[in-house]
Symmetry: C2
Subunit: 373 residues, 2 copies
């Protein structure tokens, strides 16, 4: 790992494996635990980089698969890399494209070499291999890049999953061999589906490689949500404590709180902006549909305790009006709030860990499932 | 006119009727000449109030017709009025609904009393009269409200237009009678179509009424664009010089420059945001389609001389990417630039008038038509 990257643990919870830390990257610090907004196509949908910064987000994702198809990594590099292209000067992460190839592409063919699929944009045949994914991510230039992995959907036979985990490990070795830039940290991804022993074996093998960070992938792919906590709890003890841990694709209150209790530091999810574009707000753990008539004459803010631009300046009645009128501004204002809400949820957990009050202050989210977003 | 409203001329052009002034309203000053963005449904499409303020806009419009239908003026009043509802603390203007009733509604019936039409939203029968329009505008609470007028489309027979101008005058008298709030200034609207003598008669009659401001309406309703300048030039000399003059619905470079030369102070148009939502940018008098392949690898800003958020932070290549990917952020960034561009065009004219260099610095826009946006 380049000296540009460092993970420092600042405090550990005395009742759980939760920890508060600081992850240093060439583009600045990420205070953990922290939710990371997703900027699929080099933008977090409907919000500007300035609005994004105001949400408290510190690290932002972009998707290699999407950017390779459109506009192509060459154009991003021509602009001076992803940070310059999208006007985000803070830490960034790109995924490897693995998840999207497996979840979005039709007509894909998987071999030991890699994956071949047809571009959903123009039908052209595209081959993505571990080497190619790393090359694209090196060209895009995010601070953290992810190993190219196989991500089987749920359910998946044990034998199939075993073979897949083994292949993901071989692909990881090829990713490490292909990786060229010392100013980018390559994270490995633990797969294994719902088979806890496979997860543990994968985590133990990856830990040997002394990577700058570790992710838990292949969750939220269709399995019952209550399994997520079990998977995370089985995996984290085998990952090196001095490295950041990232649970991929998760951004719901309960799952984040429980994963933090198991020692996870980073999260991402498209929920805040997707809900926003559907006229929904995340308010203190609940999902509200702003179209509802109950909000038409409600002149209070979405959440009086929230410091976001939306809550500081507009009423539920205004948001209800915008959403009903299908005004794009409604989606923007809701996305700003939703992003702030999830970043702030993890930030408040961080502050609770720092004064060792995590389990008392967040007890409602650490208890087994009730209604959750 | 309440003492809250005052129009002060700061400088007059020595070659034209152009003037630079300051229009005081209860919510602040409007430095003229100035372009006013349109916030039809209590928002300027795709931009937040904060982004709008950064464009240099000082006065913003909203549409009485649209707001009456959705969410209804009662809800706006419940929020504390239009300013509070939409988070815009600066000067605001509402139109009367006249233009929209005539241009958007089907199945309308016009009588001396007013206009009856079916709501395009829910089919319900709505009657809009001069009294009702003023009552709605009093309820919405903008600083400037507009008289309810009849706005015949082009072409229109002279006899029909004569009768319509006479009716618009009678409706104006009823508007004056109905108007209740001293903190709102009621502007009269000069109609008359392309009949310059009718325009002049209307302007002369309205001038007698000593209103706090005057608008020229019924332009850009289908007549040849070169007639706009003729209509404006025929009308302005008959309007009181100590009152602000507003040319409704016009926001193209040449037409604004020529109208300013004829003594007009205020303009509005939906072009900046409509172009933005279509992926087009206004750049120094031209319309660019950002989808064009020529912008794919153009890493320069839209307009290096523009101080807007978009030009200061993003490249044409990024905007091209967002527009091609149909990302909403692209429309927002283009709208921010386009709004800034037109506000700044009128602001630069204002500065030129203040040092009496309007006709030299803006000669290209004062000459008869060439290609114009």
């Amino acid at each position: 790992m380049s000296s540009s990257f460092k993970f420092q643990c600042q405090a550990c919870c005395s009742h759980t494996q939760a920890r508060a830390g600081v992850f240093s990257t060439p583009h600045g610090l990420v205070e953990t635990p922290r939710f990371m907004p997703v900027g699929t196509l080099a933008n977090v949908k409907t919000v500007t980089a300035a609005q994004l910064q105001a949400t408290g987000a510190q690290m932002v994702l972009a998707n290699t698969y999407h950017l390779h198809l459109q506009p192509g990594e060459g154009i991003v590099a021509g602009a001076g890399g992803l940070h310059r292209f999208m006007g985000w000067d803070g830490p960034m992460l790109t995924d490897s494209g693995g998840f999207q190839v497996f979840s979005l592409s039709k007509m894909r063919k998987i071999t030991e070499e890699g994956v071949t699929f047809r571009s959903p944009r123009d039908g052209r045949l595209i081959e993505l291999t571990p080497e190619r994914s790393i090359q694209i991510q090196n060209t895009l230039g995010a601070d953290v890049i992810m190993a190219f992995d196989e991500c089987p959907p749920y359910p998946c036979e044990r034998e199939v999953m075993e073979a897949s985990v083994a292949r993901t490990y071989r692909w990881l070795e090829r990713c490490i061999g292909a990786h060229q830039r010392a100013d980018q940290a390559l994270f490995g991804i633990v797969q294994g589906g719902v088979y806890l022993d496979l997860r543990q074996q994968a985590a133990a093998s990856l830990a040997q490689l002394d990577l700058p960070g570790y992710a838990i992938g292949g969750v939220s792919v269709g399995e019952p949500p209550e399994l997520i906590e079990k998977i995370v709890k089985a995996t984290t003890p085998l990952l090196p404590p001095e490295k950041p841990r990232y649970l991929m694709g998760i951004g719901t209150y309960r799952e984040m709180a429980q994963a933090i209790a198991a020692g996870v530091d980073l999260f991402d999810c498209v929920i805040p902006t997707r809900f926003g574009r559907h006229g929904a707000a995340l308010v203190q753990g609940e999902r509200w549909n702003l179209r509802n008539a109950q909000f038409r004459e409600d002149f209070t803010p979405l959440d009086a305790s929230c410091g976001c631009y939306t809550c500081q300046n507009f009423s539920r009645a205004y948001l209800c009006h915008l959403v009903r009128a299908k005004e794009i501004l409604g989606y923007t204002l809701l996305s700003i709030h939703n992003l702030t809400e999830l970043v702030s949820f993890t930030q408040r957990i961080r502050e609770a860990i720092l004064c060792d009050r995590f389990t008392t202050e967040f007890a409602q989210w650490l208890a087994p499932a009730a209604a959750s977003v």
